[in-house]
Amino acid sequence: MKARFSMSALLSVMAAAALAADAPRPIAIRGARIVTVSGPVIEKGTIVLSGGKIVAVGENAAIPGVAEVIDGTGKTVYPGLINGLTTLGLTEIGSVPGSVDTTETGDINPQARAWLAVQPHSDLIPIARANGVTVVLTAPQGGLVSGQSALLRLAGTTPEALTVKQPAAMHMVYPTGRPVFNLARLFEEPELKTFEDRVKDRRQNQEKELRRLGNLIEDARALGQRRGANVPSDVDLAEEALGAVARGELPVVMRADAEDDIRGAVRFAGEHGLKLIIAGGLEAWRCADLLKEKDVPVLLQVDRLPLRESDRYDASFTNPSALHRAGVRFAIVSDDAADTRNLPYEAAMARAYGLPADVALRAITLSPAEIFGVADRLGALAVGKDADVFVATGDIMDTRTQVTHVFVDGAPQSLETRHTRLYREFKDRP
């Protein structure tokens, strides 16, 4: 009988076994409160994940026989949280240069592509994931044109495996005209200038930088046209990278906080035909009508101090609800790496200061998905979407809630992190 086993048969059996081993087993979470985000809350229902997708969700969704069933009694199921602006994967320890890849030399780096420099084994990734964050936008920082960002899922052993969408956007900083702070400056002889002179300098610097930026974009547009008409031109990676921006194909995330700078950014985008998203947006509430009129979405970090001394003390907390009332699209983001896990509590703060609870949750799920054009796949619990799901013991915006399960692309994720390991190692040390 053993002689009958052919090599090919053996190989196909092995292949089948391997395939089966790679594909996550279907999962069903039963009897849980399901917050779909895109539809009404299902008070007690079932969600089924299979083949990396959500295949069923509802009060009486059918559970396939082979599925692993998780009892969701007393628990809440959410779509994986999406953090719309981070440096996750590009930085490990901020003060250790060897571990930081967020900011390239020079002001103009449109050809720098974040997803090629991401560290998939960053200790920070499991930590964010363990609190329900499953997708982040990772972006370079600094200069005038920082580079290109990508949407990453927080599971995978290679940058390719992590990448959900690249490029997601081109990142720029609206020039404020002010000198950039660095620690060494504190110990130099300061340059003494009157306020009037500093205001003048600032304006001049700003105009100069805006002209520079504008020229870059127009040169890129012209290059694109030459390419399109097959006119030979020299290679310029930077210009090429900006071409998609000039044509409005790739959105621009522009960092601007002061009202004048936000207005300036909107004007600049209008002049050059850019598809604009504002990051920072600390004073976005002061020009909400303009942002609504031009349909410019904003990536807001909530736990920031107000810009002006004369601002109401809660100006940054009420910023999201002000934008919401004006009909401006926005996402709530953490804008860092190590604190990515605290995303739901930022949304909670916005909620405490006037943002409706469902809008607060949407701001960290479906809204960022829409802003970056992946709402067909992510940000809500609906049939056909990617199976990015997590289970919690209650309201995820409540700090006391624990996350019990996380799934990315339908694959269960370990909740073990550097932190839980150290906790176990030392909690009972005598």
């Binding site: 130099e188 003494l192 002006r308």
Partner: protein, 421 residues
């Protein structure tokens, strides 16, 4: 005849001497102008008689002495010479700083109470200020924490020594910080000053003990800095603390209380906030008209709105102090244009007569020379200015400036703005 050679010599002297040299015995009578004595109400058609460097008489019905050079000042106004009670007139302009390059000239020691501003004054530079009607200036470097001791100068004459009204005028402490050496923080500056004063007191006790019984005891070391503090410690020399912020005034008072020193505060753009305290303590004030001084950039979120408000508050400060009934001097505090600053203060509500007093008699009072300077009164030093119009008004120029009774006529073509920050 013996008179002839003397006459010839005198004529020769008149020919070759630079304009403005006053021979001894020169008598002037300024007649028919609007006279502002400051110590009393204005005199519509008054006469001021100057003799031998002093004011001889002021009034509506003063007899012009025989042999006086009569100057018709009808339609013009006459005031005491302006006193800039705190500034850098005559000192080399401080570097704007920054850039990290090599300093252009040997920088002054920032912690040297023994340094004398007089040693650094450049005569030609000092005299330029006179063209705007400033006849007296307290001079001290802007930078540093303990820049040394200031000198009070009359801005006229051939030699610096002859210009000295008081030397030293005061010992100065700037509530400021240094970039690379201690003190690098404001709390450091306070601690530095306190330690210096404790050390100065001990130095005094050490030397006193030694002078009392030298034999058998080791000689204490000489320390020029600690020596420099002695007159302040004894309450004989004025300590002027430069206060940039509201709380600097409190810090200055705390220091004065701890060491029982005689105190005046300079700059003080937020002094109106502590008007009650200033009144209660009768704190002499030298209030700055340098409303937007060159400053280091602050890091952190820039709040332009707040900075503008701070400047506006500083501009209204003199007017608010006046409303609170406080007497104070107005000083340039290194502003490039002292008079423009004074005019701004008037624009923001300080009555013109209060402003005039603030730049004449008031600084004289603060600096302890009010018995000899600061108003048009018989016996006082003949520092007098004849103005083309209303004193301190925008287009008014100084037409004639008397310093120690010598007449100077400002150059019409000369720039009114001086570069002595």
């Amino acid at each position: 005849m013996r008179a002839r050679p003397i006459l010839a010599l005198m004529m020769l002297a008149a020919l070759v001497s630079p304009r403005g040299y006053a021979a001894r015995g020169e008598v002037y009578a300024l007649v028919g102008g609007r006279v502002f004595p400051v110590s009393g109400p204005p005199i519509e058609k008054g006469t001021v008689v100057i003799r031998d460097g002093l004011i001889e008489a002021v009034g509506a019905n003063v007899t012009v002495p025989v042999g006086a050079r009569v100057i018709d000042v009808k339609g013009l106004s006459v005031t005491p010479g302006l006193v800039d009670g705190f500034g850098g007139i005559g000192l080399p302009a401080p570097r704007p700083g920054g850039g990290g390059g090599a300093p252009p000239s040997p920088a002054a020691n920032p912690l040297a109470p023994q340094a004398l501003a007089l040693d650094r004054v450049r005569l030609a530079d000092a005299l330029k200020a006179r063209d705007s009607g400033i006849t007296t200036a307290l001079v001290i470097p802007r930078d540093g924490v303990l820049p040394g001791q200031s000198v009070l100068l009359n801005l006229g004459g051939e030699k610096l020594e002859g210009m000295v009204l008081r030397q030293p005028a005061a010992l100065h402490l700037h509530m400021a910080t240094l970039s690379r050496t201690y003190p690098g923080s404001l709390m450091g500056t306070v601690a530095y000053a306190r330690q210096a004063l404790y050390d100065a007191a001990r130095y005094r006790d050490e030397w006193k003990a030694y002078e009392t019984a030298a034999r058998g005891h080791k000689r204490p070391a000489y320390d020029p800095a600690l020596q420099a503090w002695q007159e302040v410690l004894a309450g004989k020399e004025l300590l002027i603390v430069t206060a940039t912020r509201e709380n600097d005034v409190r810090r200055a008072l705390a220091l004065a209380d701890e060491f029982k020193v005689r105190l005046a505060v300079a700059d003080a753009p937020q002094a109106a906030r502590v008007a009650e305290l200033i009144k209660t303590r009768k704190l002499p004030l030298l209030v700055s008209v340098n409303f937007d001084p060159p400053r280091a950039p602050t890091f952190g979120t820039p709040d332009d709105e707040k900075e503008r408000q701070d400047i506006e508050e500083a501009e209204r400060n003199p007017s608010e102090l006046h409303k609170a009934g406080i007497s104070f001097a107005l000083v340039s505090a290194f502003a490039p244009d002292f008079l423009a600053g004074v005019r701004k203060a008037i624009e923001r509500g300080l009555p013109a007569d209060a402003a005039l007093r603030a730049v004449t008699l008031a600084p004289a009072e603060v600096l302890g020379v009010a018995d000899r300077l600061g108003s048009l009164e018989a016996g006082k030093i003949a520092n007098v200015v004849v103005w083309s119009g209303e004193p301190l008004a925008k287009d008014t120029k100084a037409k004639m400036v008397f310093v120690d009774g010598a007449l100077y006529e400002p150059d019409e073509k000369a720039k009114p703005k001086e570069d002595h920050r």
